[in-house]
């Protein structure tokens, strides 16, 4: 059953998203709201990882060898300044979207498998991810004009 593949995928990407939120919080600690919110969202991702753990165990996790471009880009070079801040939020948004579509895929499979417990777990995580995307988009929309039109860096 290939469900294990996808569980492995989202399990790993949630862990990486947690790391990414922490990294952005650290880099942009001068943006106080971002610092606090990113650390909160990192904790959410941690909890998704532990929520998934029993299912990963049940279905068996498959080793992932897909290159994780999004994550690598984000961590490749530290960015600072307003533009670096906007780019980092942009990358978080892409990573959170990856999680979002993974939840959709797994929820579909969980329904087919009549696995109520997995479906409920995924629904909960999915709602968190939706809220993360909402916040990221709100924050990006706020920063974009000032960064691109007014700031020097």
């Amino acid at each position: 059953m290939l469900l294990a593949h996808y569980l492995g995928l989202v399990h790993r990407s949630e862990g990486e998203l947690a790391d990414a939120y922490r990294e952005v919080a650290r880099r942009h600690a001068d943006e106080p709201d971002v610092y606090g919110t990113c650390r909160l969202l990192a904790e959410q991702c941690d909890s998704h990882v532990s929520t998934l753990a029993p299912f990963v165990e049940r279905y068996g996790e498959t080793e992932q060898d897909d290159p994780q471009d999004l994550h690598r880009d984000l961590f490749d070079e530290p960015r600072d300044g307003s533009l670096g801040f906007l780019r980092d939020l942009h990358d978080l948004y892409l990573m959170a979207n990856e999680a979002d579509i993974s939840w959709t895929v797994i929820a579909q499979a969980a329904q087919g498998a009549r696995d109520e417990a997995l479906l409920e777990a995924v629904r909960t995580c999915e709602a968190d991810t939706a809220a993360q995307l909402k916040w990221l988009k709100t924050r990006i929309k706020q920063s974009a004009p000032q960064t691109l039109l007014v700031a020097d860096r």
Binding site: D30, T37, L41, S82, K134, T138, K141, T147, V150, D152
Partner: protein, 778 residues
């Protein structure tokens, strides 16, 4: 007449007890300069008090073109003649010897007197250069909760449609942003549901983080007169400090600061568990009950007691009082708004009234209070992070209405994101993308969090700072241009209190020297900048307070805050009329939502709402998909521990607050002899138990340190919640000897509520250290 010493010692004055359903008795408070009595007064000029959000009606006594005192207006619906100590004595600041009377400009590092033409010319020159080089977004405005409606509206129009900058906010961000936000989240729009008359009818009061005795003395007098009258209402107080209301309370929940939401979730848990629910009201007039029920499920009194540090049986008793009350009046202020999870807590208080059907009827009201006297107008007119008339920045039709009203291209009005909140304006200035910061009527060098950071922003070479004030404040010291202004009593205008009561305040005396009203300054700026509409006509097409008011009436027509049937003439005839005041209700409306119909319809609402955890904005499409269409919105989230919790290094919880004798940073009250003498310097409060652990005794000089800074003040040992340290926030360097840091905001954290963006002045971790023994009385 009440003697002055009395009113310092007894801020609430003599009791006039009354029973539910009867009229609050009148009591006319008067204060005149020594040696003057009523017969000496040349004239009494109609006004209202501007030293808190209560907005008590008063007359200003004038002799020889000088203000010599005040008298409460017995006929005024707000105060029935009473005045608090700030109102009785605060007017003396108008006559202070250090008023600013001439514009100042910085030359060679020093401020020098100059002409208006030179000062305004510099502001205009810098504005034009920035507009050309960077656009309107390089200019920011940080205004006040103390100007008049006409001034705010003029500022809003010149900022949004003239310069086209999204960066405008008031210090109302520090005081009432959460009130406004919670009203929007629950009811679809800003606007206080209740009326002060509801105090007269209530059978229970629930004060959450609201030291009303010191912040709104006259409203507290009204409650006290009920508490001392027949059939005493029950009183529940939530406050870490043993405040005057806490001492009067049937139940005082002295919770740890930062745990409000856990407590409120616990109260709702009990209300649901005991089925103190108005099911018909919930079914007919709300959405979201199941979500609230799900969230509060785990907040048993035992668990909440553990989090908050209070006895579970006290939580049960408090919930029983508010749950069983037939006429419940609840209020919240800074203990909620400036604390952790502010908007979520304030919403949960709205939820309490919604699930109990306690809204829109006599004695059934929730007050999301205001701090400052004219904060309501900053919000209404859009001089803060809102659009004028409670319009929704995310609703194209609302923005189009404004564009048509002002006859400008819609694209000029910034509406691609919410107007920038104050903390973000300061952040942009810190980063150098805002290059001109225009500060009017407020003193951020004392009132904002983490003051060393604020000073470093104000000191930036690339930031042009304009300060518009009546006094040489701590902030004015950093200005490039200082514009001297007329104070209350020296100009005419209207303002609106926390229960939607509009007062006209007339000019009683001329301002000192060359000082001008804020309105004159904004009009002059708009004129010099040459802001025009699409037809090339002046954008700001009014010239004095009354014509500004008329322009505002048009802007407000049909909106929740409808002023269209008000006029200066009507206010001169009867001062103190509540909005909405339109052709249907020309006498004003005492209560909103009496019919259970809220402003939540997608086309009408002021905001589409937010995720209360992160502040992520609900999109228009999402909102329309589940349009509440007039039903109130119940929403709840879980408690989380504050970001900065006590640690080994910083083991105590710090909170800040107010004294009855001072307002804000004491710019006025520090210049009123009796008030300054009553509370001349900062102090800190801690429990005897905590003090004992650090070898601190009553009156010792104590140093309080956080990760950000330190202050020193003398200790008062009181029965607050264990582990909590309190300091008043009023004390900057003004009147402080030897340059000791006494500002509580040296310690506070740069952090804000995710939804209302109100800073967290009431959650920080600190440590304390004894510096010296009590003052030598010699």
């Amino acid at each position: 007449m009440t003697g002055q010493s009395d009113r310092i010692a007894h801020p609430w004055g003599a009791r006039t007890p009354f029973a539910s359903g009867t009229r609050w008795p009148e009591r006319t408070d008067v204060q005149l300069e020594a040696g003057i009595d009523s017969h000496d007064v040349d004239r009494w000029v109609t006004s209202a008090c501007v030293l808190c959000s209560n907005g008590c009606g008063l007359d200003i006594a004038v002799k020889d073109d000088r203000i010599v005192g005040v008298r409460g207006r017995a006929a005024d619906r707000v105060n029935h003649g009473r005045l608090g100590p700030k109102g009785l004595f605060g007017w003396q600041a108008n006559n202070a010897g250090d008023r600013l009377t001439r514009p100042l400009v910085r030359r060679g590092g020093e401020l020098h007197e100059t002409s208006w033409d030179d000062a305004m010319g510099r502001v205009v020159e810098r504005s034009r250069a920035l507009l050309d080089e960077k656009g309107g977004s390089a200019i920011g405005f940080y205004t006040s909760g103390q100007l008049f409606l006409e001034e705010y509206y003029t500022l809003a129009v010149l900022g949004k449609a003239g310069l086209g900058t999204p960066h405008m906010d008031g210090n109302t961000r520090l005081c009432t942003a959460t009130a406004a936000q919670a009203l929007k989240e629950s009811f679809g729009s800003d606007g206080q549901p209740g009326s002060y008359e509801d105090v007269d009818e209530a059978d229970a009061f629930f004060l959450v983080g609201h030291n009303i005795a010191e912040t709104q003395t006259v409203l507290w007098s009204r409650m006290l007169d009920r508490l001392d009258g027949p059939k005493r209402p029950r009183l529940v107080v939530v406050d870490p400090r043993p405040t005057m209301p806490a001492r009067e309370a049937d139940v005082h929940l002295a919770i740890r600061n930062g745990t409000n939401l856990a407590l409120m979730n616990g109260i709702i848990h009990e209300v649901i568990a005991n089925d103190w629910i108005d099911h018909d009201y919930v079914d007919a007039h709300t959405v979201g009950f199941e979500q609230v029920e799900r969230v509060v499920q785990e907040y048993t009194p035992e668990r909440v007691g553990e989090i908050c540090g209070v006895d579970p049986s006290a939580i049960r008793e408090a919930a029983r009082i508010v749950g069983a009350a037939d006429r419940l009046v609840s209020t919240a202020l800074q203990g909620v708004y400036q604390s952790w999870q502010a908007t979520a807590t304030a919403c949960q208080l709205n939820n309490l009234h919604l699930v109990r059907g306690m809204l829109g009827a006599p004695g059934r009201a929730v007050f999301q209070m205001n701090g400052q006297p004219t904060a309501q107008n900053t919000r209404e007119t859009g001089a803060d992070g809102d659009l004028p008339g409670f319009r929704n920045w995310d609703n194209e039709d609302h923005v189009r209405e404004l564009a048509e009203l002002w006859n400008v291209d819609m694209a000029v009005i910034p509406h691609w994101a919410p107007p920038t909140h104050a903390m973000q304006i300061w952040r942009y200035a810190e980063q150098g993308s805002i290059r001109l910061l225009w500060i009017s009527g407020t003193n951020p060098a004392v009132s904002l969090p983490e003051l060393h950071r604020i000073r470093s922003v104000l000191e930036r070479d690339d930031l042009f700072v304009v300060v518009q004030d009546a006094f040489p404040t701590e902030t004015a010291a950093y200005a490039d241009v200082v514009l001297p202004v007329a104070l209350w009593g020296e100009k005419t205008g209207t303002f609106t209190n926390a229960d939607r009561t509009v007062h006209l305040s007339e000019r009683a005396v001329p301002p000192p020297g060359d000082a001008r009203s804020d309105l004159e300054i904004f009009l002059d700026y708009a004129d010099r900048m040459g802001f025009t509409d699409r037809n090339g006509q002046p954008l700001v097409n009014w010239s004095d307070p009354e014509s500004a008011f008329e322009a505002w009436k048009t802007c407000s027509r049909g909106r929740p805050c409808d002023y269209s049937a008000l006029s200066y003439e009507r206010l001169r005839d009867r001062n103190g009329i509540q909005w909405p005041c339109d052709d249907r209700t020309p006498e004003g409306r005492p209560r909103l939502y009496s019919d259970g119909h809220f402003y939540t319809a997608a086309d009408r609402c002021e905001a589409f709402g937010h995720d209360l955890v992160t502040g992520g904005a609900v999109t228009e499409q999402e909102y329309r998909a589940a349009d509440p269409a007039g039903r109130a919105i119940l929403k709840a989230v879980h408690y989380r521990a504050p970001a900065e919790e006590p640690s080994d290094e910083y083991p105590l919880r710090f909170t800040t607050g107010r004294t009855v004798y001072h307002f804000h940073t004491r710019t006025k009250t520090g210049r009123a002899r009796q008030l300054q003498a009553a509370a001349p310097e900062a102090w800190i409060e801690m429990t005897p138990g905590d003090a004992g652990r650090y070898g601190i005794a009553e009156g010792d000089l104590v140093r309080v340190e956080s990760r950000r800074g330190a202050m020193e003040a003398r200790a008062r040992l009181l029965g607050l919640a264990e582990g909590v340290v309190f300091a008043p926030f009023h004390y900057g360097s003004y009147g402080t000897p030897n340059g000791t840091a006494t500002a509580a905001n040296e310690l506070t954290v740069t952090e804000w509520d995710p939804v209302s963006k109100q800073p967290h002045f009431k959650v920080a971790a600190v440590r304390v250290q004894r510096v010296d023994g009590p003052e030598n009385p010699s």
